[in-house]
């Protein structure tokens, strides 16, 4: 893919605090992005709230703003710096959310800032659990039984499905915070109530809990020419049911045969292509330890 020479100055949104779902790899990815941009003589403006990262070292960017990662401060930086483009896809969930908010507040349009990397529409498709599920079904990719809940009254259907335990995942929160596993109707109601309050979109997904399945991830990249590659895969040491933040992950996978490895790799590439992602993406899959079901 050739270099886009219309970009002279690019603003990068940094990784912010390092917590579950917003881990140190985003600092690494963001630092590499800054380096790659400067290698091509593009001026880099960095916005990051976390001074204790590698990317906020003095030689990483041309100008560094250590400010809160919210619309108010980001708008002021944009107003002052007038970047040609905004690169939000290397700052983890924080960067994606902030870019979405900046676009919705009309800031990007007002200052004529191009959103680089994955289009917002693709981010929305990947983040909105209902849209994502519909897309997976259209691709023929298996997804567990699930229900989108925006109102407590909608819990009647999953509660009467006979599927237990169920997992509750709020949309648009970091590392799925605010979610939990429900073994009965009381737990389901309580966790859903908490999740709805924490979700930016007031939406949670209730789905079959794949306890004991292998947890496998692929780091995938795609460019606008539709070249897509997997950087690596990873296998969680503990199965589904143990939070990644309480476990360790090993790259590459250790207990997958080549057939399983390639089956999940092909699925990851189909998914990133169908979403239209331009940039990096983490695809998380779960594999039955006793069959090829995933």
């Amino acid at each position: 893919m050739p270099l886009d020479t219309s970009l002279k100055r690019v603003m990068v949104i940094g990784s912010g605090p390092i917590i579950i779902g917003q881990a140190a790899e985003f600092d690494y990815a963001g630092s590499q992005a800054c380096r790659a941009l400067r290698e091509d003589n593009i001026e880099v403006i960095l916005l990051n709230s976390n001074p204790a990262t590698i990317m906020t070292d003095l030689d990483m960017a041309d100008r560094i703003y250590i400010e809160p990662l919210n619309v108010e401060f980001a708008s002021r930086v944009i107003e002052r710096e007038r970047p040609d483009g905004l690169l939000p896809t290397l700052g983890g969930q924080t960067g994606l959310n902030l870019a979405t908010q900046l676009a919705e507040a009309g800031i990007l349009q007002k200052y004529n800032v191009r959103l680089l990397g994955t289009p917002l529409e693709a981010i929305r498709k990947a983040e909105d659990r209902d849209e994502f599920r519909t897309l997976m079904r259209s691709l023929g990719e298996p997804v567990p039984e699930s229900w989108i809940i925006t109102d407590e009254a909608q819990l009647a259907e999953p509660a009467s499905s006979g599927i237990w335990p169920l997992i509750v995942r709020p949309a648009y929160t970091m590392g799925g915070s605010g979610g939990g596993i429900a073994h009965n109707i009381d737990q389901l109601t309580e966790i859903t109530r908490r999740g709805l309050a924490l979700s930016m979109r007031h939406q949670v997904m209730v789905e079959r809990y794949l306890q004991g399945w292998k947890e496998v991830e692929y780091e995938v990249m795609r460019d606008s020419n539709d070249t897509a590659i997997t950087i690596c895969n990873m296998e969680n040491f503990d199965p589904m049911g143990v939070h990644t933040g309480d476990s360790i992950v090993i790259a590459p996978s250790q207990t997958l045969t080549d057939r399983e490895y390639q089956m999940l790799r092909s699925a990851s590439l189909r998914i990133i292509r169908s979403l239209g992602i331009e940039g990096g993406c983490n695809v998380q899959l779960s594999l039955d330890p006793h069959s090829f079901r995933y």
Binding site: T227, Q254, T255, L256, T257, H290
Partner: protein
């Protein structure tokens, strides 16, 4: 038990015996794939070679009953850093060590495979031997007395003895009856220089039954099964031994669509005026980027070849279609007018990425 790996240049690595004891010799090569050791061990293109797996821990998912790529283990020997004796996978039936022992393969573990790989990369692949009962000096003199990898035609050793049939129901070669009607929509004749089963499985999924001929079959024998297309298989060794096969294929050009894979690419190159040369350390692994010159697309491919086609001498309408992005060598050919093309890498994957499986579809489309 102690084992030695001795290279022809005298470089010696001390390790621990794996598989059976004894000694073995072959060309020492390396594969960088992180998965797929069972497929690699059973790939006939590794005949005559001792394979080093650069991934440091091998055998973690054991050995199963269905991931073999031919009827037997094909490598001459195996070199790994560390094996696992506690496999974890639902299909696993035995450990790597048990499998190698059952198949009487001499192998070695506990050596610095990274140092070995760097040596082969810097200096080129070379003959070597693994021994559990000789000194390094004894091993070297035995190695010097044995034939070099390039000096023998290995294809006749790995090709099928009898013509056989493979269709969607097959899990191993079925009996071929020349008077039978095709069992699938299409029939493909495969010239077996060391075919991998996944080529046959991939074609079967596209409604093709395959009739697999020994590499010494004549063009008349091959055409007598009335195929829709002819597939030139991968295989081991120096393609310059295969002058007879080049002549066979020359007589099929213009009569049937032809697809070549790996060695098949080199054969087609020779049919169209080119020759092959030996690569310094070959391409063996599951992450080789290639560029399709027609579409500009990049695929990540599975590769296993030690020779490449010289692009300069190609003639009579044959053109370079794909190149390797690591070293720029030829990775595929396509004829300007005739339905003839070939791929130097492995669209059938197994092991490796399935990015280029669609070439089988392209082949089948040329039947109608």
């Amino acid at each position: 038990m102690k084992a030695l790996l001795v290279l022809e240049d005298g470089k010696t690595f001390e390790g621990i015996s794996l598989g059976v004891t004894g000694n073995t010799q072959g060309e020492v090569v390396f594969n960088t794939g992180m998965t797929g050791y069972q497929e690699i061990l059973t790939d006939p293109s590794y005949a005559g070679q001792i394979v080093t797996l650069t991934y440091p821990l091998i055998g973690n998912y054991g050995i199963n009953e269905d991931d073999g790529e031919s009827r037997d283990v094909q490598v001459r020997g195996l070199i790994v850093h560390e094996t696992s004796d506690m496999p974890s996978n639902w299909r696993s039936r035995k450990t790597l060590h048990a499998y190698l022992t059952e198949k009487s393969i001499v192998a070695i573990q506990g050596i610095d495979t990274r140092a070995l790989t760097r040596h082969l990369r810097g200096d080129g692949v070379k003959m070597g031997t693994i021994t559990t009962n000789e000194t390094a000096e004894e091993a070297i003199s035995r190695l010097q007395a044995s034939p070099r990898y390039d000096s023998v035609e290995l294809n006749r050793l790995v090709t099928t003895e009898n013509t056989y049939l493979w269709n969607r129901q097959s899990t191993s070669p079925d009996v071929y009856d020349p008077t039978s009607k095709p069992t699938e929509k299409f029939r493909v004749a495969v010239i077996d220089c060391g075919v991998k089963y996944n080529i046959l499985r991939s074609l079967a999924l596209l409604n093709c039954e395959t009739v697999v001929f020994p590499c010494t079959a004549t063009h008349a024998e091959i055409l007598s099964c009335n195929p829709h297309g002819v597939m030139l298989s991968p295989g081991p060794g120096d393609p310059s031994h295969l002058g007879y096969l080049v002549e066979t294929v020359r007589r099929i050009v213009g009569i049937k669509p032809i697809m070549g894979v790996c060695l098949g690419n080199q054969i087609l190159g020779s049919v169209f005026g080119s020759r092959t040369f030996k690569l310094k350390f070959g391409h063996r692994g599951s992450n080789h980027p290639i560029k399709d010159l027609n579409t500009g697309k990049v695929y990540i491919t599975s590769q296993n070849h030690g020779y490449a086609v010289d692009p300069d001498a190609l003639k009579d309408g044959m053109e370079v279609a794909h190149i390797n992005l690591n070293d720029g060598t030829v990775e595929g050919l396509k004829h300007k007018e005739l339905p003839i093309f070939s791929i130097q890498y492995h669209p059938e994957a197994s092991p490796g990425p399935k990015d280029s499986m669609f070439f089988f579809e392209e082949f089948v489309r040329s039947f109608t």
